[in-house]
C-alpha cells in the first residue's frame, strides 16, 4: 500500500527534516506515527498525501512509484487518500454538510447522492444537529469531527490523520479512535500521527516512531508493519 525506501526530505535549502526513512504499510493495516513535536510527523504525512516531494529516496503508493506517475494521474491517486489535517482546513464560507461533501463533488459525484451520503456520515460522527452551521461557529472538537467525516466520505484506501485528537479530551479521543477502527475494519489502511501516548497504549496498535527526523523504535526497517496487519 505504502512503501518508503531511504527517504529524505528538506524544506527548500534547509536541513533534512527526514533522513533515511524506510517502512512499509501493508493493505488494511492500522499504525500510529509517534514522536515529539518537531520530529517530522507532519512532514512524513505530507509526503504520503503528495503535498511535498522527497529530496531523495523512493516512495510508492498503491504499488506505483510516485516519481514516475504522470501529473494528470495524481488527482485520482489523491482521491484514494483521506487526510485529516492538523489544522482541519475546513472552508469557512461553506456549511458543515457541504464541507464534508467536498471530496465527492471534486470527484464529480451526483448532487443528491452527495448530500445523503454526507448527512449519514455526519450522524456517524455525532454532528447531525449542525449540518448547516459554518465552521467558524464550531468548537475545536466539532471541527475535528467535520474534518474526519470529510476525510472518510469517499471511502479512501488510505487514511492519514495528523494529530486528530489534539483538540479533544480523552473520552472524545477514544470515540474518534473507534471511528478509525471501524473504517479500518471496512478495509481502509490507517496511519494516525499523534503524541498522545495514552491513546496509543489503549488502542494496542503498532507504531512507527520518529525522532529527530529518523525512524526508530520497534518497526524501523523494511520489514516494518508486517506484524501490524489488522
Amino acid at each position: 500500500m505504502v512503501r518508503f525506501q531511504n527517504v529524505g526530505m528538506r524544506y527548500g535549502l534547509g536541513p533534512e527534516v527526514l533522513r533515511d526513512v524506510s517502512f512499509h504499510l501493508p493493505p488494511g493495516s492500522f499504525h500510529f506515527l509517534s514522536g515529539a513535536s518537531g520530529a517530522g510527523k507532519s512532514s512524513l504525512l505530507k509526503l504520503m498525501y503528495l503535498a511535498c516531494r522527497p529530496s531523495r529516496g523512493l516512495i510508492s503508493l498503491f504499488d506505483s512509484d510516485i516519481a514516475t506517475m504522470p501529473r494528470r494521474a495524481l488527482p485520482a491517486v489523491r482521491r484514494q487518500i483521506g487526510v485529516v489535517f492538523q489544522d482541519f482546513r475546513l472552508l469557512d464560507h461553506m456549511n458543515v454538510i457541504d464541507n464534508v461533501a467536498l471530496p465527492l463533488r471534486v470527484a464529480g459525484a451526483k448532487r443528491t447522492e452527495i448530500r445523503d451520503h454526507a448527512r449519514e456520515l455526519l450522524k456517524w460522527v455525532g454532528l447531525d444537529d449542525c449540518l448547516d452551521a459554518l465552521p467558524p461557529t464550531l468548537s475545536g472538537g466539532q471541527k475535528q469531527r467535520v474534518a474526519i467525516a470529510r476525510a472518510v466520505i469517499s471511502r479512501p484506501l488510505l487514511l492519514l490523520a495528523d494529530e486528530p485528537t489534539g483538540n479533544v479530551d480523552d473520552t472524545i479521543a477514544m470515540r474518534l479512535l473507534r471511528l478509525f477502527e471501524e473504517l479500518n475494519r471496512l478495509g481502509t489502511t490507517v496511519l494516525i500521527a499523534t503524541h498522545n501516548e495514552n491513546l496509543i497504549r489503549r488502542a494496542g496498535r503498532p507504531r512507527l516512531h520518529l525522532s529527530g527526523g529518523e525512524l526508530t523504535g520497534p518497526f524501523h526497517g523494511a520489514a516494518a508493519g508486517e506484524e501490524g496487519r489488522a
Binding site: R78, P103, R105, R111
Partner: protein, 292 residues
C-alpha cells in the same frame, strides 16, 4: 450559471467588484471605436458609389474667353465624345444650392459670380481617357476644369482608412487592457484563496475543476461589464446620430448603422465575456501547474 458549486468564496474579493465597471469602460471604448469606424465606412461606400462613373466639369466664373459661348461649346464637345451617357448643365440656382452649406445664403444672394457646372455620367465600363477629354473640353471652353472626383475621393478614402486603422488599434489595445485586467484580478484571487485552492488540490481536484470556478466567475463578471458598456455605446451612438441629423448639412457622414453592424456591436460584450473566461482559465491553469 456555468458552475454549480462555489468551493472558493471568490465573490468576496474586493477587487472583483470593480471588474464589471472596468470592463464596461473598456467595452464602451471599443464599441465607440467600432461604431465610428463602421458608420464612416458606410459613408465612404455611399460617396464611392455615388461618385464613381461621374465627372464634373467646372467652367470658372473668371473665364478668360467668352463666358456665354464656353458652356454650349463644352456641351457640344462632350456630346461628340463616345462613352458619355449624359451631360447636363446645372442651372445657376442648382449651383447656388450646392454651395449654400459652405457659403451661406447671404453670401450667395450678393450677386456672387458663380462657376457653371456640368454633371457628366459615363457609360458603364467606358474606358475614357480623362486626359484626352480634358484637352478636348479645354479647347472648346478655355479654363474649364475636368474633375473625375478621383483625387478628392482618394483623399476621403485615405482619411477613412486612417481612421479605421486607428479604430482597430483602439479595439486591439482595449482587448489587451481587458486581458491584463482579468489576469490581474485572477492572480489576486489565486493569492487570496491559495490555502483553499491547495486544499482542493490535495483532496484530488483536477486543475480544470479549480479553473472552472474562476472562469465561470470571470465570464459572469465580464458579461455584466460588457452589457453595461454596450448600453452606454448604444445610447451614445443614438445621441450622436440625432445630433448629426439635426445638423443636416450633408457635410457629416450620417451616424447610422446597419442591422449587421448593430449585431457586430452586440457581439462585443460576448467577445469580452469569452476573453475574460479564457484568460482566467489560462491564468489559473498556469498557476496550478506549479503545485506538486
Amino acid at each position: 450559471m456555468f458552475w454549480s458549486h462555489r468551493d472558493l468564496a471568490l465573490d468576496s474579493d474586493p477587487a472583483r467588484r470593480f471588474l464589471p465597471w472596468l470592463l464596461a469602460m473598456i467595452v464602451y471604448l471599443a464599441g465607440l471605436a467600432l461604431a465610428g469606424m463602421m458608420s464612416l465606412s458606410a459613408a465612404v461606400d455611399r460617396w464611392d458609389s455615388g461618385l464613381s462613373g461621374t465627372l464634373t466639369i467646372q467652367i470658372p466664373a473668371a473665364t478668360p474667353g467668352n463666358r456665354d459661348t464656353a458652356l454650349p461649346n463644352a456641351m457640344a464637345a462632350l456630346r461628340a465624345t463616345p462613352g458619355i451617357e449624359s451631360a447636363r448643365a446645372l442651372s445657376a440656382e442648382e449651383t447656388a444650392a450646392l454651395l449654400e452649406p459652405w457659403l451661406g445664403k447671404s453670401a450667395l444672394s450678393r450677386d456672387l459670380p458663380l462657376p457653371r457646372l456640368i454633371d457628366v455620367r459615363l457609360r458603364k465600363n467606358a474606358a475614357l481617357d480623362i486626359e484626352g477629354l480634358s484637352n478636348l473640353v479645354r479647347a472648346a471652353a478655355p479654363g474649364a476644369i475636368v474633375d473625375d472626383h478621383k483625387k478628392s475621393l482618394d483623399r476621403l478614402i485615405h482619411l477613412a482608412r486612417t481612421i479605421e486603422a486607428a479604430a482597430i488599434a483602439i479595439v486591439v489595445l482595449v482587448a489587451f487592457a481587458a486581458i491584463a485586467t482579468v489576469v490581474f484580478i485572477t492572480r489576486t484571487g489565486l493569492a487570496l484563496h491559495a490555502n483553499n485552492i491547495e486544499l482542493l488540490h490535495l483532496i484530488g481536484a483536477a486543475d480544470g475543476y479549480v479553473a472552472r470556478q474562476f472562469q465561470g466567475q470571470a465570464l459572469d463578471l465580464a458579461l455584466r461589464g460588457g452589457v453595461i458598456g454596450l448600453a452606454l455605446t448604444i445610447v451614445t451612438v443614438i445621441l450622436l446620430g440625432r445630433a448629426a441629423a439635426a445638423l443636416g448639412s450633408g457635410l457629416l457622414p450620417a451616424v447610422s448603422l446597419s442591422a449587421l453592424q448593430w449585431v457586430i456591436l452586440a457581439a462585443v460584450p460576448v467577445a469580452i465575456g469569452l476573453i475574460g473566461m479564457i484568460t482566467a482559465r489560462i491564468t489559473v491553469m498556469g498557476a496550478l501547474r506549479k503545485l506538486p
